[in-house]
């Protein structure tokens, strides 16, 4: 079972005569024209990994049956570049965006390896009737140990193992949890990187997730994207009294830096 922790490492490599020579010692600089950045790691079986450079999509690659991927981008100048990566599972659900600001050096291949996306997550209900069940599902690496967390008025966690094709599904009983607002998320056991947080309510009725569009904090135009448009709507209400509910991401009746931080967490670009 896959148990590796998502600890990214970066190394600098020099391409000499077609061979890639990895070295951590950069004192002996070799005049090599090739400059590139390479990302490699694990997502989900046959997931699509998209790479954004300074917020603009530049390339996407498909992971193999084990979920492994590798992508190389050619660069030209010495600079600090912010790359963002996200994975889309075979059902079309996206991981959170992960940013990698990298110092790029001309003549070297900078290799960032050990990337590991948290599993994707979807729930079947936006509101669960008190005492009923919530189905949580998505994709991870195949046969991986996973841990689901529920946080709200009370906290609970459950463990499970994903199937061979990376899919997982768990039916969670809501009998012991009081009514109120909750979030659910998933991560690999012993890993710090969480999936998206998904909001749900324990209340009077069962409301399917497909019937609501208000599940992403700050998504005031309900396009399921968090980008500059949503940032601008939030910025308009920054410091103003009585903001609309959709911009007040933490429901404290004011728009401050915390609301922007929550928006930044959910950013899709």
């Amino acid at each position: 079972m896959a148990q590796a922790q998502s600890t990214e490492n970066v190394s600098i490599s020099a391409r000499v005569g077609g061979e890639v020579v990895t070295t951590n010692n950069t004192s002996g600089s070799i005049g090599i024209p090739k400059t590139a950045v390479r990302f490699s790691g694990e997502a989900y079986p046959f997931a699509t990994i998209s790479v954004l450079k300074e917020g603009k999509k530049v390339v996407s690659v498909q992971a193999d049956s084990r979920g492994s991927f590798s992508v190389t981008l050619e660069e030209q100048y010495d600079s600090t570049i912010v790359y963002s990566l996200f994975a889309t599972d075979v059902s079309g659900n996206q991981s959170l965006l992960i940013n990698y600001p990298i110092a790029v050096y001309v003549g070297f291949i900078t290799h960032l390896y050990g990337i590991r996306f948290a599993p994707t997550i979807v729930v079947d209900k936006a509101e669960v009737r008190f005492g009923d069940y919530l189905a949580v599902y998505g994709y991870s690496l195949s046969e991986a140990d996973l841990e689901v967390f529920i946080e709200g008025k009370e906290k609970k966690n459950f463990t499970l193992v994903s199937s061979k094709n990376g899919s997982y599904k768990i039916i969670l009983p809501m009998q012991d949890l009081p009514k109120g607002e909750y979030v659910v998320y998933i991560r690999y056991v012993d890993d710090a990187r969480n999936s998206k947080l998904v909001k749900f309510v324990i209340g009077e009725l069962n409301v399917p997730n497909t019937d609501t569009v208000e599940n992403i904090p700050g998504d005031c135009n309900y396009d399921r994207l968090i980008n500059l448009v949503d940032f601008s709507v939030l910025a308009f209400w920054y410091g103003k009294d009585n903001p609309p509910a959709c911009v007040d991401t933490n429901r404290d009746n004011k728009i401050d830096l915390i609301d922007f931080s929550i928006l930044a967490f959910w950013w899709t670009g």
Partner: protein, 308 residues
């Protein structure tokens, strides 16, 4: 024997006390270290002389914790140095909510890093390097000991909850020396930092929906590599220029209007962008209405003539 036993007892008590104090000290130091492991760093140049234009890098060592929002107010000595802009080159430029600007001897800035960052991946350094946030530009106007001190600072984790990251910050003393060459007279009019216009930028019109409390507005985000964007001005139709900021509410009128936004950098170089805001009535619709009116008029006249 008794003596020996007594001696042993004393040693044991002493050892216990030592272990107790050591344990408390260890845990106290450990947790203090943990709480203050993250920090905001200010990196000025090593030597500054009067007349110098210099950069001060503001970076954040988040101790590997992903962060996505910052709010910083930095105080500086107005008598010895002047603020002349900011640079984004080789930094992780935040999406500014409040771009770096001066107000009564303080520099205020606030912004978000969408998706968050844990640090800079620099293959030449072991582990994660501090996050380079922004380079503030200053001019040394007078010799003396200047101070850069944090008045307010807030760093929020990228955890979906906006949790504050505990951190420390160190104020920095800058020694501004008299220019050796003797030509250190500061000329505030001289533009040495930035002679280029801001980069071309786009304006997006966000139309308000019928029941939305957020008005129709335009959004824009200009970038300037040399000294940063200082302010914006807007010209709507035939109206005069006025100060603006993104998002800028722009109401729809009967007819479409041209809106020009001008982005100025800290050295008064500017770049224009424009957009046509659609009106409630389009030219086509207006022609149709006119045609209907004319036709009705003619028909009316004919009817009147017929009755007469």
């Amino acid at each position: 024997m008794t003596k020996k036993h007594k001696k042993y007892k004393i040693t044991s008590n002493g050892m216990k006390k030592f272990l107790f104090i050591f344990t408390i000290l260890f845990f106290t130091l450990f947790f203090i270290e943990k709480a203050d492991a993250a920090s905001i760093l200010v990196s000025p140049p090593s030597a500054i002389y009067t007349g110098d234009n210099f950069e001060v890098l503001i970076s954040i060592d988040s101790d590997g914790v992903p962060i996505n929002s910052v709010d910083i107010t930095l105080n500086y000595d107005e008598n010895l140095m002047s603020f002349s802009g900011y640079k984004s080159e080789n930094t992780i430029t935040p999406l500014w909510l409040v771009s770096p600007h001066e107000s009564n001897g303080s520099i205020l800035m606030s912004g978000i890093i969408p998706g968050g960052v844990s640090g800079l991946y620099d293959p030449r350094n072991k582990g994660l390097s501090p996050i380079p946030l922004v380079k503030l530009l200053f001019s040394a106007t007078k010799d003396g000991n200047a101070k850069l001190s944090f008045i307010e600072r807030k760093i929020l984790k990228n955890d979906g909850k906006g949790t504050e990251l505990l951190h420390d910050s160190k104020n920095v003393n800058l020694e501004i020396r008299k220019s050796i060459t003797g030509d250190g007279n500061f000329d505030s009019q001289e533009n040495v930092f930035d002679k280029n216009s801001p980069e071309p930028f786009a304006i997006t019109f966000l139309e308000s929906s019928l029941f939305s409390r957020t008005p129709s507005m335009i959004i824009f985000d200009a970038r300037d590599a040399g000294s940063g964007i200082k302010y914006y001005q807007i010209k709507i139709g035939f109206q005069d220029w006025q100060n603006a900021q993104s998002p800028q509410p722009v109401s729809k009128s009967i007819f479409s209007r041209d809106v020009v936004v001008r982005a100025y950098d800290f050295y008064s170089n500017f770049q224009d962008a424009s957009i046509r805001i659609p009106g409630f009535l389009s030219f086509k619709l207006l022609l149709i209405i006119l045609a209907v009116l004319v036709f009705s008029g003619i028909l009316g006249l004919k009817l009147l003539k017929y009755r007469a």
